[in-house]
């Protein structure tokens, strides 16, 4: 990935292998479109209330911003507009961007080191959006708590095609492990759509 501008993980016609709960689901990309950086995708996590010095917003739900319809996956990057630390959980109980003992954050310094937000990249499948845990590290109240997202939306096709009626779409194939997925002969890009428990 590197410190590069965002690029779509796959083109239409290519395959994605979604990794969720240590299982591997193979889908084909049917359609792709961009989600450019824009004001509808700026979350104001305090809902106008601001955030007190040292304060915390636990479990901010990104559902209204990042939720997708059935059989769609988003490739997103994020940056903050205020001096806050943002931890990401996906699903709610699993910390993303974590090591054995620590959880990395998105914060104002992230963009200084990584101007393309490359290290913030994450994927969100259907309504399995991330939940944010936001803290104000400063000694003063913040009047706004803004986190912005941008990226791509992919419409996926399973073995019976796309979700034309809005229903669930079964993957082309589900594998128990990555070895089986590789041995299937299919070409794919691997995408984590939920944290891998530490």
């Amino acid at each position: 990935m590197g410190y590069e501008p965002i690029k779509p993980i796959a083109d239409p016609g290519e395959n994605l292998l979604l990794v969720d709960n240590a299982r591997y689901h193979l889908y084909q990309v049917a359609y792709r479109e961009t989600i450019p950086p824009s004001h509808p995708f700026v979350a104001e996590a305090s809902a106008g209330a601001g955030l007190a010095a040292g304060g915390r917003i636990q479990a901010f739900n990104t559902n209204t911003i990042l939720d997708l319809s059935e059989a769609q996956v988003g490739q997103f990057r994020a940056y903050v507009l205020d001096d806050v630390h943002v931890r990401m959980n996906q699903p709610g109980a699993t910390a993303r961007h974590s090591t054995g003992q620590l959880i990395a954050t998105f914060n104002p310094f992230s963009k200084l080191q990584d101007p393309y937000d490359a290290m913030t990249e994450f994927f969100s499948f259907e309504d399995q959006r991330p939940i944010l845990d936001i803290t104000n590290p400063t000694g003063y109240a913040l009047v706004q708590v803004r986190v912005a997202f941008y990226g791509f939306r992919f419409v996926l096709a399973g073995k019976e095609g796309i979700s034309s009626l809005g229903g669930k779409v079964a993957p082309i194939e589900t594998f128990e492990n990555i070895k089986a997925a590789r041995e299937s002969g299919a070409k794919f890009a691997v995408v984590g759509v939920g944290g891998w428990p530490r």
Binding site: D83, N107, F109, L112, Q113, P137, T138, G139, Y140
Partner: protein, 123 residues
């Protein structure tokens, strides 16, 4: 903290609240910028308006301890020192400002700063 590896650091710029120097606050030390816990900061810009009848010397310090050469704020003019003028002292504590004026009424000397904060282990 005196030596700053300027070329290797990147910080976020913050603007302080407006500070009015008054000797009524003994001993006249005003907090110009209170650091975010765990961070350090370098003073990048200082704007001062001295509305008194005479110039004053300003003492920039860390918790009241002088860290920079005195700056003279002429009266009746706008004074701004920018990154080119200010030393890159890396503050690890509250940045303070004092005036040498013997008596100052509120808002006679107004100051405002921009600092560059650097990330620390907690901030």
């Amino acid at each position: 903290m005196s030596r700053t590896f300027k070329n290797y650091k990147k910080g976020v710029f913050k603007t302080s609240p407006m500070v009015s120097i008054t000797v009524a606050v003994a001993p006249g030390v005003q907090n110009l910028w209170i650091l975010t816990a765990g961070r350090t900061a370098i003073l990048r810009k200082l704007t001062v308006r001295n509305r008194q009848a005479a110039p004053v010397d300003l003492l920039i310090g860390e918790g009241g301890v002088q860290r920079m050469v005195l700056l003279q704020a002429l009266n009746g003019v706008d004074a701004t020192w920018t990154e080119r003028d200010l030393q890159d002292w890396e503050f690890t504590g509250t940045i303070t400002i004092q005036s040498t004026a013997a008596a100052v009424a509120p808002n006679e000397i107004q100051c405002q700063a921009t600092v560059e904060e650097f990330q620390g282990p907690t901030g």
